[in-house]
């Protein structure tokens, strides 16, 4: 079987990018300089923000190659876009050679620079890594990722062994989100935490009403 698309980063990377507590500390990785564009010092930047152009809405960004480095402040100005990247001019950089020297620079902002959200809205960065407890007691795991596949937001929760489950991010399924305490309480719908190893024919102990899943109302049998 063909291998799936090369993964750009792991969810653990995403958590590491959020180096601080949920209430305003730490930094968030917004993008990476992937190269130079043209001869006038423009940069090609891969933006990780929800909308690629939102990268330019947070003022000067902190550019740093690796954790722990002091870094430098960059004031970016959007000049265009290309495939998978946004193009930007940087104050003080006017030639390609200097721009190429910035390749690999990671662009951060302080978590506190993000605007406040409405009720029941949360930044992914705040949710990642939260401990998940069950309503009835017991620990379910930690939030590994937040997804939206088209049916609403859902949390991917990893247990100690690394196995993951999906829990819908709804008031009913997640009644408590306590960011200062670093925890949330889940009340997942019945059956969602079961293992998925059973097959279509084994459901609910071989219920008589369960036909083989291949039996369907296929057309008119003229195939």
């Amino acid at each position: 079987m063909a291998s799936p698309r090369k993964r750009q980063s792991s969810p653990a990377d995403a958590v590491r990018d959020t180096t601080g507590d949920a209430e305003g500390g730490g930094e968030l990785l917004l993008g990476i300089v992937v190269g130079a564009q043209g001869i006038r010092g423009q940069l090609r930047i891969r933006s990780f923000t929800g909308e690629p152009d939102a990268l330019f809405g947070y003022g000067p960004l902190l550019g740093r190659r690796r954790d722990g480095e002091e870094g430098r402040r960059l004031t970016l100005r959007r000049t265009g876009q290309a495939k998978d990247v946004v193009l930007a001019a940087v104050d003080g950089i006017a030639d390609r050679t200097t721009a190429e020297g910035l390749k690999g620079l990671r662009l951060y902002i302080e978590r506190s620079a993000l605007p406040a959200l409405e009720e029941d809205e949360y930044y992914h960065a705040d949710l990642l890594g939260l401990a998940v407890e069950l309503v009835g007691g017991g620990r379910l795991g930690t939030v590994k990722a937040v997804h939206d596949f088209g049916a609403g937001d859902m949390l991917e929760i990893a247990d100690a062994a690394g196995r993951t489950k999906f829990v819908p991010f709804t008031r009913k399924a997640v009644p408590v989100v306590d960011l200062p305490a670093g925890r949330l309480v889940a009340d997942p719908p019945e059956g969602i935490l079961d293992d998925g190893r059973q097959g279509p024919g084994d459901q609910e102990g071989g219920d008589e009403d369960e036909p083989d899943y291949r039996v369907s109302d296929t057309r008119d049998g003229t195939e």
Partner: protein
Amino acid sequence: MARSVWKGPFVDGYLLKKADKTRASGRNEVIKIWTRRSTILPQFVGLTFGVYNGQKFVPVLVTENMVGHKFGEFSPSRTFYGHAADKKAKRG
């Protein structure tokens, strides 16, 4: 080529029975299904399905906007983990 209208939407037979059974019971449970090819029908609105993606069941709470789509569209079999950056989630 689009499916002929006279055939009606395709749905695996067992899925209708499971949905009816769950609706009649009134329980808040996930209906586990493997049939990613089935069309979402109006009578599924409000139910939560666990749509198998080859590894695990992805919960799909069916809303009116999803009617006419296939279950598999909401349960990708390959997951891309990006960076959190400034992305937001809303608790529905």
